[in-house]
Amino acid sequence: MNKIKYMNPYLAGFLLGLVLLGTIYVTGRGLGASGAVKSVVLSTIENIAPQHSANTPFIKTYSEEHPGGPFKDWLVFEVIGLVIGAFFSGVISNRVGIKLDKGPQITNWTRVIAAIIGGAFFGFGAQLGRGCTSGAALSGMAVMSFGGIITMFAIFGSGYAVAYIFRKLWLN
């Protein structure tokens, strides 16, 4: 069976907008992703090194503010849903399978290492900027948050600024 084509981007955007709007209407908050990673990382640190966590103010404050840990965290549940939804979409469009996407010039290992490094940058930046493309940029735009919108410009501005340097990762 052939892969099914991707959805029209404007239609997808419209549907995503409705999902976001529904979420805001019901819960009063937008969507996110990186916060779930944060919740999991923090509770992992707490479990592995309780002594260290007790001595680190950042971790202490966070766990005081989020008493239930990841299993009471809104974003963790949202991301579990994200995984389910994405997997379901992959199944009906026949796109599920162990695969690796990369530019034509690089090896699989280079791609994996670049993905880890890029992920590390993004994870770090999302903490500093208090949100990623979903939490800051997308949800921020929906509620006209100044902070969210400037974060969005910073993300894409810097992406374009360094795109040329890293073109070998992606282009012929």
Binding site: V26, G28, G32, W74, A126, T133, G147, I150
Partner: protein, 398 residues
């Protein structure tokens, strides 16, 4: 009225909502092609602008939707979470994320989406982002200054630009459409494709653009739910006969003395006026704040009777009418101003010798009522302070 959490939907059930939202989010991201890193970075090299199209359409759709819902009065815009602005960390964080985007080929949401359908690079990206978060946590003492500097609070883009929400919505929608057109031109050039459009597509696209602007125009032109309500109340004010619901100071005083635990006395004047003088046991709900959620429990209950008063009879009547629209409580109005009420019970003139029996009765009643009220207020001063119901601000963000 939305948001439904935590007033209508509990915080526990909210986690189920999170799951459902996430499923929708993940499904659409994957359908849009965001599980493919090549499609994502296409944005930066000009061959595929799917990211921009999806994100901008979603942002504009949700933004217009939020405006529309708040215009209809079914979403309380003052309660929804607005990401706070910390200028330097927003910019620096964004810049670092941009670099991560180019090197890693994903953002966190899309990386998780890719990992979910078995993309190894997606999994690597998610693992990498956990490392990045870890680095931030451990390095936090060094970053604290930039992280907390220039805290502006939850400022809105339109306020920064000095325009109304609706004008900003117009501008952002126009920018989005211009961006769609330009990127379409760029895509065609970079990919060396011939621009072609079926008639059907042109009709659908132009009518969606038209619809977006039409909704914005309607929001801008139509009076919102609050002003419609005000108009409605003005109309009722002229038509309604209030004699059956207006009570005299003497009646209210006897209610206070004998039934203080069965009534709410609601002062709808300003906070300052309330502080200067208010009736015994009165709580202050300035009329413009009457529909705040914290008062919902008072406006909509069957156990106590509400008595509204103000210094202006029209204001008190408006408050009465408005309360009738907010909830089902039993409402009455004090026929006199607060000053007159005060005078009735404090400036008591001893009746002369030749006063009628009725006058003497009134005098005796008022004197007793005044002293009883004072005693009651004194006896209950610790227990009758209204419990201020806190409207919880919703926490959100990434």
């Amino acid at each position: 009225m939305g948001p439904l959490v935590p007033f209508i939907i509990s915080n526990e059930f909210n986690l189920i909502i999170a799951l459902i939202s996430g499923i929708g989010f993940g499904f659409v991201l994957e359908q849009a092609g965001f599980s493919s890193t090549k499609k994502l970075v296409g944005l930066f090299y000009g061959y595929d602008f799917t990211v921009l199209k999806v994100f901008f359409t979603a942002g504009v759709t949700a933004m217009i939707g939020v405006l529309l819902l708040s215009h209809w009065g079914i979403l309380d815009i003052s309660l929804i979470y607005v990401n706070p602005t910390f200028l330097w960390s927003s910019l620096a964080g964004g810049a670092i994320m941009g670099v991560g985007f180019i090197i890693g080929g994903f953002c966190p949401g899309t990386g998780i989406c890719a990992a979910a359908i078995g993309k190894v690079d997606g999994m690597a990206f998610v693992a990498g982002s956990a490392l990045g978060v870890f680095a931030f946590i451990e390095g936090y003492p060094l970053l604290e200054k930039i992280y907390l500097d220039e805290a502006w609070g939850p400022v809105l883009m339109n306020d920064m630009l000095g325009m109304s929400r609706i004008i900003f919505a117009f501008i952002l929608t126009a920018i989005a459409i211009a961006a769609f057109y330009l990127t379409w031109l760029i895509e065609n050039r970079v990919n060396k494709t011939q621009p072609k459009f079926s008639k059907e597509k042109i009709v659908i696209y132009s009518s969606s653009v038209g619809l977006a602007f039409l909704i914005l125009v309607l929001i801008a032109m139509m009076p919102d739910s609050k002003s419609r309500m005000a108009k409605h109340i003005d109309k009722e004010l002229k038509q309604k006969d209030f004699t059956s619901v207006e009570v005299q100071p003497d009646k209210l005083a006897s209610e206070i003395v004998s039934n203080y635990y069965k009534i709410n006395i609601i002062d709808v004047r300003s906070q300052e006026a309330f502080k200067l003088y208010h009736l015994p046991f009165a709580i202050n709900i300035p009329i413009e704040k009457m529909d705040d959620r914290e008062w919902g429990k008072i406006m909509d209950q069957k156990h106590k009777v509400n008595y509204f008063y103000a210094d202006d009879r029209i204001v008190a009547r408006k408050a009465y009418l408005w309360a009738g629209h907010i909830g089902k409580a039993d409402n009455y109005i004090l026929s006199e101003s607060s000053a007159n009420f005060n005078k009735t019970f404090s400036d008591l003139v001893t009746p002369t010798q030749d006063a009628s029996k009725k006058e003497i009765n009134i005098y005796n009643f008022r004197q007793k009522a005044a002293s009883d009220m004072a005693k009651l207020v004194d006896a209950l001063k610790n227990s009758t302070q209204p419990v201020v119901a806190k409207t919880s601000k919703i926490k959100g963000g990434c």
